[in-house]
Amino acid sequence: MSAGYVPVSWNRNKWIYDALLLLAMGLYIWIFLRVAPGFQDVTRPVDGSILRMRAFGSLAFLMLTFILCIGPLARLDRRFLPLLYNRRHFGVLTCAVALVHAGHVLGWYYAFSPTKPLAALLGSNTSFDLFVGFPFEVFGIAALAVMVMMAVTSHDFWLHYFGAPLWKALHMAVYGAYACVVAHVALGYLQDTDNPAFAIVVAICVGVVCVLHVIAGSREGLRDKTPAPAAQGSDPYAGWIALGTLDRITRDLPDGRALVVTPEEGERIAVFRKEDQLGAISHACAHQNGPLGEGRIVFGCVTCPWHGFQYRLEDGCAPPPFTEKVPTYTMVVDETGQLWLDPTPLPAGTARPLTDLPKQEALHGSDTVPA
C-alpha cells in the first residue's frame, strides 16, 4: 500500500486462491484434450496441436468471462467478495493462457511460413471488406494486446505511478478486449464448426456477463437517481443532509457498519459507526475506488471490502506506514437530536471530531454485527 514498489505480498488466502485456480485450469485442459476428440467430425481430423490451441483459447475465453462476472456479482451479493480479492492474479493467469493459445496458433499455422510468423498471420487474410471471412485474427491480437498491457500494469506500483484515474481508465479497456474476444470467436471458430454446443456456450457466457453488468449498473444508477435531499432555505443547516435522529441511527446501524448516503452532488459518503461514535468519510477507497461503505471496521479501521485497504475513521488516513487518504465529512447534532451531514468534503486526511451516540443505546453491542 506504500508509494514505492513492494513485492507481491503472498498470504494464505492468496495461495489457496491461486492453487484452486491453477487446479481448475489444469483440470479443464485435461478434460478438454480427452473429451473434445470424441465430439469432432471424424472426416476432418484435428491435430493435437489444434486441440491444444482450442483448449487454451476456450479456457482464456471462459476465464475472461468469469473475471468480468466477478465485479457485478460482488456488487449484487457480498458473498462473492472473496473472488474479487485476488482478481488480478486471475487476470494475469488469463493473459498467460491467452499467450499460450497465441503461441500454438503461430507455431502451428505459421511455423513454416517464409516470413516471420506474426507477419504471416497479419498478412494471410486481408479480406477486411467481408463479414464472413473477415480476418478475425486481428480481434484476437487486439484483445491479447490489451490483456498483456493490463497484466504488465496490474501491480500496485503502476497504480501509484499512473494515478488511480488513469490506471482505472486503462484497465477499463478490458471491456473492449472482451468485445474483441467475442468477435474473434464469432467470426473465427463459430464459422468453422457445425456443432451448436459451442455457439450455445458462447451465447450463454456473453448473455450472463451482459445481464449481470446491466443489473448491477441499474441498481447503482437507481441510487444516484434518488439522492438524499439537502435542507433548503435559510436554515443554519441549509445544504446539509438530515440523516435522522441519533436514537434511530443507534438502533438501526450495527457497530462497525456504515450508512451510505448519496448527495445530490459529489461522491457518496459512508457514515460509519465505531462502537458509540459516528464518523463520515468518502465511500470511494483511494486505492481503486472500492465501496468503503460496504466494508466494515476491522481492528479499529474502516476496511475496504475489495482489497482490504484501511483508513482511520477519525481522519480518513491509512494507518502508518501507509499513506493513502480519503476525504472526511463534518456531522453535527442539533438541539432536537437530528444528525446533520455536510456533503461538502473536507480535504483528504482532515481530522474532525466524531459524533457521540447516546450512552443508553450501548445495549446494541457489537454482537449485532451480521456475518
Binding site: 471424424v42 472426416t43 476432418r44 472482451y178 464469432a186 451465447a203 456473453v206
Partner: protein
C-alpha cells in the same frame, strides 16, 4: 466507486449488451451453408478395407 465511473460502466455495458448479442446472431446467421457433419457414430465400420474418410470433405 465514484459516480462518474458508475455512469461510465453503465453506459459501456448498455452498449455492449446490445452489440455483443447482435454480433453473435449476425455471425451465426451469416455462416456458410451447413457442411456435411460426420461423427464417429454415423460412420459404419469400414468394409473390405475401404477407408472411412474416403470421399468425405477434408
Amino acid at each position: 466507486m465514484k459516480r462518474r465511473h458508475i455512469r461510465a460502466h453503465g453506459l459501456i455495458w448498455r452498449v455492449l449488451a446490445c452489440a455483443l448479442p447482435l454480433l453473435l446472431i449476425a455471425a451465426l446467421v451469416a455462416r456458410p451453408g451447413e457442411r456435411q457433419q460426420t461423427t464417429a457414430e454415423q460412420i459404419a465400420p469400414p468394409a473390405s478395407g475401404q477407408a472411412a474418410t474416403s470421399g468425405a470433405e477434408q
